[in-house]
């Protein structure tokens, strides 16, 4: 809505003195008098007017001359009188114009202030609605973050438990590996002992070999003895027949003994060879120490896994702690923002004060209008006095500071500056 606050033309123009008009009138009268003087003898000669008319005309001309003379003498006063009359007429018109414009202005001002007030109120309501939405969302964020912190806390506890359990398992596995390593060591020792015993047995068996050879030699001699006995039996003839049978049996026995001795010797050789081969094989394996190496590798791998697991667990713990810390910061920030949002209430109160001022301004303008129209008294409270009243109604120190800074007045301190005070 466009409101015209201007006024048409100049309100208080000073009228120019009408000297030119007076001069024109004097000149006109002078001209008329001159004409009358010229025309009068002609009229008298041509028409022959009666003497009464001549006297009347002469009187009229004389009156006009006197009037002209008087106007000339009092031309300044006449000029002022005309100017005053003109000013009066103009002022009346201007006063009428002012009243009409002021009436329009007051009407517009009320509407203007009503619009501004309504806009402020609407803005306040809109801010409040928006802020209520923001608070709702903030509360939701706060709630979600708190839940997240709880979940992270729970997850962290579970992770720590898992890490502890896994570390315990790794520790136990290492103990098992150590036990197996020790067992492997004892097995090696036992094997070494067994090998020594086998070697001794083998040596024992090798020591049996001469005995077998002795048996074989005895068998050979027995065989030779049996042959000699058989020869002697043949010499003895019939009497040595029985002896020959015995000699034959002895020979058979010696042959069998020889075979048996040979068989034992072969077997001793074979068994001793096998024992030596197995012993050698076992020695070589012992020398390579493969199992112990495997166990050592396993233990090493296990330690490496434990190291990596510990590093991963530490990293995970750091991440969890970081997220938890960040979430706590978010919760705190949201909590602070929820408090800061209270500015809307402060803004609302300040806008209400402005609205009160606008309403007063409208009422004041109406009262002034009525006073100008002569239908009411001049308002008892002026704008200046109302400013003081407004100042008294302020609740915030900031309102007073703003007020005083506009008026160029120092703002005194308001007592306790503590934002929080417990009695």
């Amino acid at each position: 809505m466009k409101i015209n606050l201007g006024y048409p033309g100049k309100l208080f123009d000073t009228p120019e003195p009408p000297t030119l008009l007076v001069k024109k009138i004097v000149a006109a009268i002078f001209f008329v008098s001159l004409c009358a003087y010229l025309v009068y003898p002609l009229l008298h000669r041509w028409i022959g007017l009666p003497s009464r008319i001549e006297i009347a005309l002469t009187g009229a001309v004389a009156s006009i001359q006197v009037l002209v003379g008087a106007m000339y003498v009092f031309r300044r006063h006449l000029s002022i009188a005309f100017a005053a009359l003109d000013t009066h007429n103009k002022c009346s018109a201007q006063a009428k114009c002012i009243r009409e414009n002021y009436h329009q202005t007051v009407s517009d001002l009320s509407q203007y202030n009503a619009v501004l007030g309504s806009q402020l109120q609407e803005a306040s309501i809109q801010t409040e609605t928006a802020i209520l939405g923001v608070i709702g969302r903030m509360a939701n964020i706060h709630h979600q973050t708190c839940s997240q912190i709880d979940r992270i806390g729970s997850s962290s506890e579970r992770s720590m438990e898992l890490i502890a359990v896994t570390q315990d398992h790794i520790h136990k596995n290492q103990q098992v590996i150590q036990a197996l390593n020790a067992f492997s060591g004892s097995q090696v020792e036992q094997l070494t002992d067994n090998l020594l015993r086998i070697e001794k047995l083998s040596e024992g068996m090798e020591q049996m070999r001469p005995m077998v050879e002795d048996i074989s030699a005895i068998a050979d001699r027995t065989k030779l003895l049996a042959l000699n006995a058989k020869i002697e039996a043949a010499r003895a003839g019939e009497a040595g027949r029985g002896f020959a049978v015995v000699a034959e049996e002895v020979r058979n026995l010696s042959v069998q003994t020889h075979k048996l001795a040979q068989d034992i010797a072969d077997r001793i050789t074979r068994v001793a060879g096998q024992a030596l081969a197995e012993t050698e094989n076992a020695r070589q394996k012992m020398a390579s120490n493969e199992d112990a190496e495997k166990f050592k590798n396993m233990a090493g791998n296990m330690s490496s896994v434990e190291g990596r697991f510990k590093a991963a667990a530490t990293h995970l713990e750091d991440i969890i702690k970081g997220v938890e810390g960040a979430n706590r910061v978010i919760v705190e920030e949201v909590s602070i923002v929820l408090g800061e949002i209270q500015f809307q209430d402060i803004l609302r109160q300040r806008l209400e004060q402005v609205n009160t001022g606008l309403e007063f301004q409208s009422g004041f303008a109406k009262q002034v209008q009525l006073w100008l129209e002569g239908s009411a008294e001049l308002p008892a409270t002026g704008l200046s006095a109302h400013l003081d009243e407004l100042k008294e109604k302020y609740v915030m120190q900031e309102q007073r500071t703003t007020h005083n800074s506009v008026l160029g007045v120092h703002t005194p301190a308001c007592g306790s500056n503590n934002k929080i005070e417990l009695f």
């Binding site: 409040e128 802020i131 209520l132 608070i135 709702g136 903030m138 509360a139 706060h142 709630h143 708190c146 705190e332 909590s335 602070i336 929820l338 408090g339 800061e340 949002i341 209270q342 500015f343 809307q344 209430d345 402060i346 609302r348 109160q349 609740v395 915030m396 120190q397 308001c414 007592g415 306790s416 503590n418 934002k419 929080i420 005070e421 417990l422 009695f423």
Partner: protein, 124 residues
């Protein structure tokens, strides 16, 4: 058991802001728009452990509410915190005279408010 706090303020923003902050800190919250409504709630059986009230409110302001509250049986020693934009020392002194426990100037952040409440309400 969660402590109950009554919030009295004519501003919906303040009521919701305080309610959210306090509930998130584990308190149970009851709200009222002015002193008259708050007294009605108290007479109807609401038993808050702490009251947070604004000072400048329509119908009944915080100072008058405190006077009426102390006259109610069972509410003589309930702690009352004034939370307001009011900065005049006379009002602060009057609140103290009427039985207020503390005076807080808006805006007050959540952590600060909770800190004060824990001071006023041991075990909260």
């Amino acid at each position: 058991m969660a402590k109950t706090i009554m919030v009295i303020d004519d501003s919906a923003t303040m009521r919701l802001s305080l309610k959210s902050t306090l509930e998130l800190n584990g308190f149970k919250v009851e709200c009222a728009g002015d002193g008259v409504l708050a007294l009605n709630q108290l007479k109807a059986g609401v038993k808050p452990d702490l009251i947070i009230t604004d000072i400048n409110m329509p119908n009944m302001g915080g100072l008058e509410f405190m006077k009426n509250l102390r006259a109610l049986p069972g509410f003589r020693f309930v702690p009352v915190l004034a939370l307001t934009t009011e900065s005049k020392q006379e009002k602060r002194d009057e609140a103290k005279k009427n039985g207020a426990t503390g005076w807080l100037v808006k805006p007050v952040t959540g952590p600060d408010l909770v800190k004060v409440i824990k001071q006023v309400l041991p075990g909260a």
